[in-house]
Symmetry: C2
Subunit: 142 residues, 2 copies
DNA sequence: GAAATATACTTGAGTAGTCAATTAAATACG
DNA sequence: CGTATTTAATTGACTACTCAAGTATATTTC
């Protein structure tokens, strides 16, 4: 690993962190018209991708990069507003599964339009091929 | 803007946000041995890049993508531990400048080694050219 | 199959930020 | 100039997480 390489890698991490702060702020603001936060959107989106499957909270924590308690506290208000519902696991009483409700699916579809529109806006002028390359980097880092 | 493009742009934003959560957690953990958080490191790093110049808090907010009050609350403990010191602006009594102390510069140098080592680790196996491309994307988004 | 260990989740206490309101100083305008 | 507006920073009240500890259930080990 040359020093030049290390400098590039450090700069990558730094600009990544700084950009993330701004981006999450912007998206959060846009999503707020749907009454949800960015993390709530990401939960809805993951649940939607899992079809009708009830998802263990620990799996949501893994997907989101949150602690188990973070998931508890993130999902609780979503239960109150009936975006998701709680479901018992058939063979493991420790697990409480999270399932998307019809209302949750509706909010997800609406919010997705906002999310995509915001993504178009924020990445305007950037080449899709470059974005694809960046996506592969993000997936590697995870 | 084709639908395929939009999908790529949305996926970019999503994986970006998810990766940022994990990365900041990892780096934060590593930096904690120096007694500072990721955001504190980024502040030290920015101050170090500004030579001996006292930096207005509002400028730090702009750089970090934080609110003004976020900066107040982030910098306050750093003053208490004497990593930075407060300085009056010569011609504008509203501004209170933030200046790196010698102790702050020392902590920054030590933490920088940790930061670079962590960056090497997290981006191991990724091509510097690809990281450079990603950096340009992050700078555009900001 | 009982005891030890591991896992899923929740809760209390603390940290890190947000926004809205406030204060004080600087700048712009009639 | 003096009044109105803008700007920099702080504070109070809130949200969103973290970690450590606790509870309940599953799994492993002997």
């Amino acid at each position: 690993m040359t020093d030049d390489d290390s400098e590039t890698r450090a700069a990558f991490l730094q600009t990544h962190a700084l950009a993330a702060a701004r981006v999450s702020k912007t998206i959060g603001l846009r999503l707020s018209v749907h009454g949800i936060s960015l993390n709530e959107y990401l939960i809805l989106d993951y649940l939607a991708s899992q079809r009708d499957r009830g998802v263990p909270r620990i799996e949501l924590a893994g997907h989101m990069g949150l602690s188990a308690s973070g998931v508890t506290r993130l999902v609780a208000p979503m239960e109150k507003t009936h975006l998701v519902e709680r479901e018992a696991h058939a063979r493991d009483a420790r697990q409480s599964l999270v399932r998307l409700t019809d209302a949750g699916a509706r909010v997800h579809r609406e919010a997705q339009d906002t999310f995509v529109a915001t993504a178009d806006e924020l990445t305007r002028g950037l080449q899709p091929e470059d974005l694809q390359r960046a996506i592969r980097i993000f997936e590697t880092i995870r």
